[in-house]
């Protein structure tokens, strides 16, 4: 006999073959045993869950030579004919192709004739949701009161498209998606019969990929056998499905924790270059984060997570650095991505944008991320990780002392820190401040913002050293910073003047890294603000003044002989 697809070859032939639909099978069996067979059944459920197969088995059970029975012999001529689709009494109708009223009229004519061989005449109407409204209505009367020997079995994936008058005339059975274990069980049975060796990992990958459809699962198995022969490993399944390695998922998680956009994009172009299945990758990622989430939240995860022990350990080590809100946010972004991927033909672009969003999710300014950061802070406070400012400064002093020993700088930084601690502003501080102000030809504004604990000269003198230090941490960042000069300090903010807009943007994206490094090396906690050198003057002129000086405003004031009461900044976006 010619080769037949595995999913056709291994169609369930008896009630006991049906996997995962216990309540359906039990009800049908009891109905047969108790002789309470209805005249119309509706089988609905997603693809590959066994609707049509169950319908055929029911037909066999009714027409088997031993009379209606739950133990189908599978050998008598009636059973054989039904299996081979050539029984006169069991008619399988493709409602999607024969969807008009004429076909239904024809059917109604034929219903009158009693069965020729078996006990019952069984009409299996598959894909019944595609019948036209007229056809449905023409069927109603027959469906309600067919001759006693006629049984209708309607099968569909979309019961919502049926008329309520149809639904109310049938006994409805809902077929659920199959669980992963059910699928694995069946796959291992089939591969045993086919004399194929397949690893458990491979089977569970297939089962996860099948999305609850047995036919999908067997189809993939079939294809993998064609691809790999009689020994199947997880690698073969990955190749056929275009799946991404688990290691890559874990790698990406680490990248996301580190906020490393460049690595992330490299990874994406690798994945695309290797022709991986992008939607599959995103779904895998969602699954991966779900596992992380469960590990974070639940104590007993054995039943919920299907991964090996060593992998679990690896996941657990990742979880430590993560917050629940963050993972949820990631999953949300991925879900959005997964939806967008289905709409688009530009999958690569959607993936790139999504990954960028994931990696940068913390710097994102949306409400959710701000909430996230808030909870992170709260958590830290609760754990006592945040120390009060004074303690902090004491720590800084210690650090500074250490530094001093190394570099013998002219000014003792620890003293300075102490100076800053005391409330009275030090004169030399002001002097040096004035000095810098002269350089930048602007004394008015800066006078008001005397530095609180460091002065710009100190930073300037240690700037090169700072760059060297940063270089060890982040080459790229240090390179961008070379373009910048520390300019002045106001409101506890260090202004950096850049020559190029591009470099400025780069640093702005990674402010925290620079701030952290500043704190570590110089022992000062300053915030960073970046400006482009050419715009210095405009920058310093306060926004309010700019508005007041605007010719339009002046003219308006003159026209109405009014005065400016308040200058308010509006959100421009």
């Amino acid at each position: 006999m010619a080769y037949v697809s595995l999913y056709r070859k291994w169609r369930p032939q008896t009630f006991s073959d049906i996997v995962g639909q216990d309540n359906v099978v039990k009800t049908l069996k009891n109905a047969i045993k108790l002789d309470r067979i209805a005249h119309a059944y509706l089988f609905c459920g997603p693809r590959g869950t066994g609707k049509t197969s169950t319908a055929k088995i029911l037909a066999k059970a009714l027409n088997c030579e031993d009379g209606p029975t739950v133990d189908i012999c599978g050998e008598c001529s009636a059973c054989n004919k039904i299996t081979n689709n050539n029984s006169i009494d069991v008619l399988e109708i493709d409602a999607a192709s024969n969807r008009g009223i004429n076909e239904i009229r024809e059917l109604r004519e034929k219903v009158k004739f009693s069965p020729t061989e078996g006990n019952y005449k069984v009409y299996i109407i598959d894909e019944v949701h595609m019948l036209t409204t007229e056809a449905f209505n023409a069927l109603l009367k027959t469906l309600e009161e067919p001759p006693e020997y006629v049984i209708f079995i309607l099968a569909t994936t979309e019961p919502n498209k049926l008329l309520s008058t149809i639904l109310s005339r049938c006994q409805r059975f809902d077929f659920g998606r199959l669980s992963i274990n059910d699928i694995i069980e069946r796959l291992s049975y089939i591969s045993e019969q086919e004399e194929v060796e397949i690893s458990h990992k491979a089977m569970s990958a297939i089962a996860r990929n099948a999305g609850g459809g047995m036919r999908d699962a067997i189809s993939i198995l079939d294809q993998t056998i064609s691809y790999a022969g009689s020994e199947i490993t997880i690698d073969d399944v990955s190749a056929v499905l275009g799946m991404v390695d688990r290691d890559i998922l874990i790698g990406l998680t680490k990248i996301m924790i580190d906020h490393d956009v460049e690595e992330a994009l490299n990874l994406v172009s690798d994945i695309i270059g290797q022709g991986k299945n992008i939607s599959q990758f995103v779904d895998d990622l969602i699954h991966h984060f779900r596992n992380l989430l469960l590990l974070k939240e639940c104590t007993d995860t054995n039943k919920l997570i299907e991964v090996g022990a060593d992998e679990k350990e690896e996941l657990k080590s990742l979880v430590g650095d993560l917050l629940v809100g963050q993972i949820l946010r990631w999953i949300e972004i991925l879900n959005e991505m997964s939806y967008d991927l289905k709409q688009t033909t530009q999958q690569r672009l959607i993936l790139e944008m999504g990954i960028i969003k994931l990696v940068k999710s913390e710097t994102d300014k949306s409400m959710d991320t701000i909430l996230n950061r808030l909870t992170k802070l709260e958590e830290q406070v609760a754990n006592g990780q945040i120390v009060s400012q004074q303690q902090d400064q004491a720590k800084d002093e210690e650090k500074n002392k250490k530094q001093q020993q190394v570099q013998q700088s002219s000014k003792s930084t620890s003293q300075q820190a102490k100076q800053a601690n005391s409330t009275t502003p030090k004169q030399n501080d002001e002097k040096s401040q004035n000095h810098t102000e002269h350089e930048h030809k602007d004394s008015k504004v800066a006078d008001l913002d005397a530095p609180e604990d460091v002065e710009i000269d100190q930073i300037k003198s240690q700037w090169n050293e700072f760059l060297d230090y940063l270089k060890k941490q982040d080459m790229k960042l240090a390179a961008f910073l070379r373009d910048a000069k520390p300019f002045k300090i106001e409101n506890n903010k260090l202004l950096l003047a850049f020559k190029h807009e591009f470099h400025k943007n780069q640093i702005e994206n990674k402010k925290q890294v620079v701030e952290k490094a500043l704190k570590k090396l110089l022992g000062v906690s300053l915030r960073i603000e970046c400006i482009v050198a050419d715009n210095n003057k405009q920058q310093e002129k306060s926004e309010e003044e700019k508005v007041r000086d605007h010719p339009l405003v002046k003219e308006a004031l003159e026209l109405f002989s009014g005065q400016v009461v308040k200058v308010e900044k509006l959100d421009q976006k």
Binding site: Y3, R215, E262, G273, L341, T345, K573
Partner: protein
């Protein structure tokens, strides 16, 4: 003409040749992958190989069957394409009738359905039963650019064969060899093609396409300085290229993607590498958030125009106005 003709799809060819060698041909396949990665060629070669008199796992191109196929008059290799905008239920009904007749002269009767996502809902549904249990000699191959537009019930009945993008280097080398290009031009076209060899060939053979790209990019570079009146004039321009509108939008999307990557300091991953200076210049005008928003707007319009029956002029106008509004000034 044989499987050698298919560029850069080794995994696919292995799957198909193994199936041929082991006599494990499935009755239904779905070939999925981007437009222009070689699905059509592969399907055709596969059909030839299945019927070839001399070889088992490839087409010999010499036997009667292969020659007939090459001349497009093989009686047992049938192709179904959209009639007008879609593949209609009548075409599928015809297939269902025809498929019942045994092949005239060969082992297998092969149906290739191009752009299977173009099937109407009723056509797709009516194919289901046939797709599940066709006669033993039949093979049905569905080709699709977007798997997600097929019914889950359709997909579940077929073996899924995924075509990947053709690697950049492979495209480049082949282009330079086949068309005798300079290395620079080969690089440019290979990166524009984004894994689609057929599209790359189109770009070379149809000079206009490249010119159009230049036009679009010029427009984008000047976009910040264009006022609304000029915007409407541009829409009028674009309407002259009704059939290529999706490609034009694609160029626009790629441009902003490049901007976004440049903003992140990823200069080496840029597609429009020949316009690097303009890109850098253009970048000053935008913030990352704005670029993301722009891409979103473009994506949306692209989907609307492709999948729904929208008024092209209106949707383009709305799109450009939205883009204008995204910007700060």
């Amino acid at each position: 003409m044989s499987f050698d003709n298919v560029l850069g799809q080794e995994t696919v060819i292995t799957i198909l040749q193994n199936a041929l060698n082991k006599d494990r041909l499935s009755h239904a396949y779905i070939f999925t992958g981007k437009q222009g990665v070689g699905k059509g060629t592969t399907a055709f070669e596969f059909a030839k190989a299945a019927n070839c008199h001399n070889q088992v796992d490839d087409a010999c191109d010499e036997c009667l069957s292969c020659r007939k196929a090459n001349n497009d008059n093989h009686p047992d290799i049938k192709e179904i394409k959209a009639e007008g905008a879609s593949i209609k239920i009548e075409q599928i009904r015809e297939l269902q009738q025809e498929i019942m007749y045994k092949p005239y002269e060969s082992k297998k009767k092969v149906y290739i359905i191009y752009q299977a996502e173009d099937m109407t809902l009723s056509a797709a549904n009516s194919l289901l039963k046939t797709l599940e249990e066709p006669p033993s000699y039949a093979i049905i191959i569905l080709l699709t650019n977007n798997l997600n537009q097929l019914l889950a019930t359709t997909i579940s009945r077929c073996q899924l064969v995924r075509f990947k993008r053709i690697p950049y280097d492979l495209i480049k080398e082949n282009l330079i060899e086949d068309y005798d290009l300079t290395a620079a031009k080969g690089q440019l076209i290979a990166s524009l093609a984004d894994g689609r060899y057929d599209y790359a060939c189109q770009l070379i053979e149809d000079e206009e396409q490249l010119e159009r790209r230049e036009d679009v990019i010029e427009f984008l570079v000047n976009f910040p300085n264009i006022d609304k009146v000029q915007l409407f004039e541009k829409v009028q321009d674009l309407l002259n290229y009704k059939d290529e509108i999706n490609q034009i939008l694609e160029v626009m999307i790629t441009w902003y993607r490049d901007l976004l990557l440049l903003d992140l300091g990823q200069e080496d991953k840029i597609i429009n590498a020949d316009y690097l200076d303009e890109l850098k210049h253009n970048l000053v005008e935008f913030e990352a958030k704005e670029i993301e928003k722009i891409i979103e707007v473009l994506e949306n319009s692209n989907e609307l125009i492709k999948n729904y029956n929208v008024n092209l002029r209106l949707s383009l106008e709305v799109m450009l106005l939205k883009l204008k509004r995204v910007r700060r000034f």
